[in-house]
């Protein structure tokens, strides 16, 4: 969640409390079908390669969670220093780089051609930012219950807009929820971002758990994608929409060029 959302969510804390007194049940909803949409996930980092681009299709809501890969597409990544590479398909729907090395400061362009249509996204890799410390904090959730979470502290570079994405693993299991932050009203300060276990998964940090945190420095376009991807869950808004992709051409997905640092901590 991002900071602005924390404030909004906190303000709506009461709804959460009241919904405790409510009931949930699975229901049948008659949903329309949609034609399969192209989904592109592309990443390039400042770590040693290879990097992957995954192409898949969307399915109807009532179908199995089996997303058909797209084979035979032409996938090309180029940078603003004159380098460029066409990624071969290493497994159905997955295209992997061979020699390309991601460098902070460069602007990368991903061109995907499927059925003679080109879809393009541009992302600039920011400079990496280091995590200063990871600490385990406690948050009380009422009625004597407390929950633990990890807090990352890092010094934000002053004078530029910085956007961050956090990916964390608990005991080597990657957590799926989206944690992003930016230096809004915090430029040049030591920012504290809380990294909580996925609410959906009902996971609690126990003594001895190892948490590895990767902090990605991303650009604005990727940040906007993840912000709106989170909101597409539909809980906050009565009229959810598809996330703001940084691709042209009306495809789903994103292309992210990011620099990453990491740290780990064991729960005492």
């Amino acid at each position: 969640m991002e900071r602005r959302q924390i404030i909004q969510q906190a303000a709506l804390f009461m709804t959460g409390a009241l919904i405790l007194s409510s009931c949930e049940k699975v229901i049948d909803v008659d949903l329309n079908d949609s034609s399969p949409q192209i989904v592109i996930e592309g990443n390039i980092t400042d770590q040693t390669g290879p990097y992957t681009v995954r192409l898949s299709k969307s399915v109807n809501f009532d179908e199995l969670n089996d997303f058909p890969p797209i084979s035979g597409a032409t996938v090309q990544i180029s940078d603003d220093a004159g380098n460029s590479e066409i990624l071969p398909e290493t497994s159905p729907g997955t295209y992997t780089t061979v020699a390309l090395q991601g460098t902070p400061g460069r602007t990368y362009t991903l061109d995907v051609t499927i059925d003679e249509q080109i879809y393009t996204a541009v992302s600039t890799m920011p400079l990496p930012v280091a995590i200063d410390t990871l600490t385990i904090e406690e948050q009380s959730i009422g009625f004597g219950d407390k929950t633990s979470y990890v807090e990352a502290r890092y010094k934000d570079p002053e004078g530029i807009d910085n956007y961050y994405r956090f990916v964390h693993l608990i005991n080597n299991v990657r957590q799926k929820d989206i944690i992003i932050d930016k230096d809004w009203l915090q430029d040049g300060n030591t920012i504290r971002t809380s990294i909580e276990p996925d609410e959906e998964e009902d996971i609690e940090l126990k003594q001895g758990d190892e948490v590895i945190v990767f902090m990605q420095s991303i650009d604005e376009g990727v940040y906007e994608y993840y912000r709106t991807l989170d909101e597409a869950g539909g809980e906050f808004s009565a009229s959810p929409t598809n996330p703001l992709s940084n691709f042209s051409g009306g495809v789903l997905g994103y292309f992210s060029a990011y620099a990453v640092t990491s740290k780990s901590i064991v729960v005492p």
């Binding site: 924390i6 919904i19 409510s22 809501f61 009203l185 009229s239």
Partner: protein, 876 residues
Amino acid sequence: MKILFLNVFQRFGIPLGSWVIVFMILSGLQANGQDDVLQGKVNLGTKRAPARVFLEKLKAVEGLHLSCNEQALDLDKEVNAPAEVITAREVLDLLAVNLNLEYQFHGKQVILKPKATTPSKRRYTVSGYVRDSATGEELIGATVIIPELTTGATTNAYGFYSVTVPEGNYTVIAQYMGYEPQSFKVNLKQNVSHNFTLTEESSELGEVTVTAEKPNENITKIQMGVEKISMKEIQDIPMILGEKDVLKAIQLRPGVKSAGEGSSGFFVRGGAADQNLILLDEATVYNASHLLGFFSVFNADAIKDVELYKGTQPAEYGGRLASVLDMRMNDGNNKQFGVSGGIGLIASRLNVEGPLVKDKGSFTVSARRTYADLFLKLSSDDDVNQSKLYFYDLNAKANYRINDRNRIYLSGYFGRDVFGFGDELGFNWGNTTGTLRWNHLFNEKMFSNTSLIFSNYNYEIDIDLQGTEGEITSRIQNYNLKQDFQYFLNTQNKFKFGLNSIYHKIIPGIITLKSDDNTNELDISHRHAWENAVYASHQFKPGEALSFEYGIRLSTFSVLGPGDFYSYDSDGNATDTISYSKGKFVKTYFNLEPRASISYMINQKSSVKASYTRNTQNLHLLSNSTAGNPTDLWIPSSNNVKPEIADQVSLGYFRNFNKNIFEFSTEAYYKYMHNQLDYKDGAELQFNEDVESELLFGEGRAYGIELLLKKRYGNLNGWIGYTFSRTEKKIAGINNGEYYPAKQDRMHDVSVVGIYNISPRLTLSATWVYYTGNAVTFPSGKYEIDGKIVNYYTERNGYRMPDYHRLDLGVTWLKKKKSQASRGESSWTFSLYNAYGRQNAYIIRFEESESDPSRTEAVQTSLFRWIPSVTYNFKF
């Protein structure tokens, strides 16, 4: 013989005057003989009939010898008598007035003949106030009629009426729902001031005179599209958690939809929640919800009168497109002190009122508070026992009648919702309003009211949670000078004119974020605006059947500095920033808002009405949710945001049955709206200096038909209402620029309310509501990103929530009743919300299935099933 004498002497030029005197003396001598007969009672058998029927009744009176030239008279003319049994003299006067006759006594004969010359009749005014006899409260919208002339008036918002008619003998009757009518006779030869004091109807069973005809104001009044909510009705209808609520009662009327389970927000004729102007003693209330909507901010104890105009508001109102909810506070009992209140499961109320100077001035103070948080203090957990969760409301009013022509009022409302969780989170919000008013009577025809009004809504958030430490504050305020004149020329013509000048100030958000190193602040550009309106309207009743009201309102809205104003390109990038200094005009919008309505009475039982209104709106609420949050932002019109405009036409048919005991009405409307707002995909509406770049503009249209069958009298009363409606928007950038349903579009809406007085002490009530779901966006597909399943959306608002229905039951037991011996009253009310416990959908989420990870599913969350409550009310 006498007439012959008269003519002879006229020819001789002797002044007629002296003969008139002789004539009068002679007729006076003669009249004695007729007097006894004329005092005798005549049973007319009906209150309304053609003149010939009454004439026949008169002719049948024993000892009365009537003579008239019937051919010369319009005996088919419908005549209204003040009562079914009146004296013969009164019947004579009645016929004389209606057929334009004069009568003379000629020996034992009474001769009726047309008035020889009709000297221009002088007109005089009967005026005054209609009040409750027990408390002195002025009654708003009471009718004052003169049946002999089939004409009358209604009292205005301050209980004042003025009726100007030709001189003559009349009965003037004042009536108001729930009170015994009162009449007085007047021989109108000069202006008369008369105040009515009405007593409440006794609720003894069996005394309810079902046989007598009930008033038919819904047929006669010009205004259509208006719902008047009686405070008695609000007392009887069962409501969630036992709290009597004005806004919840309004949601049960046709054309008004609730914004969702437990919400205080409402939609009128397809309009959005911010398109309703909510007024409390003329002050705007920006957020009418407590505890996220389960209660409104209006304590029913303090409210006297509630009227909802469904877009058909007359020229004296303006500022919002869909409706005006005009609420007036009680003035306070000016005869004796009284305390009343109630203790409920969630909140308790106390009301204290009494005279400041007996019969001249009074005050009233009403307070209400919840106490859910008192239970939190019992917890051993520090975070919990330091937590706060409460709201309070305080309504206060004082008034003083300086003299017969001047009266002043001071009223205010203060309310707050407070939520705090340990040290980590503090959140409070609320409204403050204040109104100072001066009623002035220039003369018995010209009423004036001057008001100075202040209104403020703000919220504050204090947060120290998960690495975020800071404060946020936001507010919207206005200062308002309002002047209204009402000129009651005569019963055919009433003029209203006036002006309203409002200064708005909005602080969209001051955000302070702290970190270990320093504190940074963001103060989003404050907004200032000056809104003005002048209006004039004329209510014209040329005859008995036809009446018109037409008027015009000229409104202006000026955006003022200081501040930075931006222009944006289509991608939302700021292309231009212009700074304006304090008081400079950035942009001014002018709008002309014509209003017209016409009412035609087909007969005493039915009428048709039609109206056209144009409304504009210059304050817009940006909200991501359907019902609204306390942190939603109000923005004024600007160089980027144009005023919203709505044109509404409506047509209605009104019909009463069974001596006006049953009222049936149907109204159809069509509304077209300009400059409607919607948001770009992924719009950031909060704490965004460039929030105007996130907006999309377009058109809207709404249409529908409302049916209502109401029974207001008898031991079983209530109503059944049904509304069919559609409301759509067409916005460039959404749905390919095609019409799509607005979020609040709900096709069918049914409300059934029944109140049954089993005995004088026991009342049962039931409410059943049913509505088809509002428009929502559901996914039409799914895909995978980073190992997570993501919903894919196609059409905006292309789906519907499931149907909603619910039954509420209530029982009120009047434990102790008002009597001669003691004023004390107490009652217990038990209610059950959602009596059959239906799980109505509040939110539907689409997510990975818990039981089968290879699939996704829809999960519905519903809020309330059976919710019982008990309330104890007292009054003394």
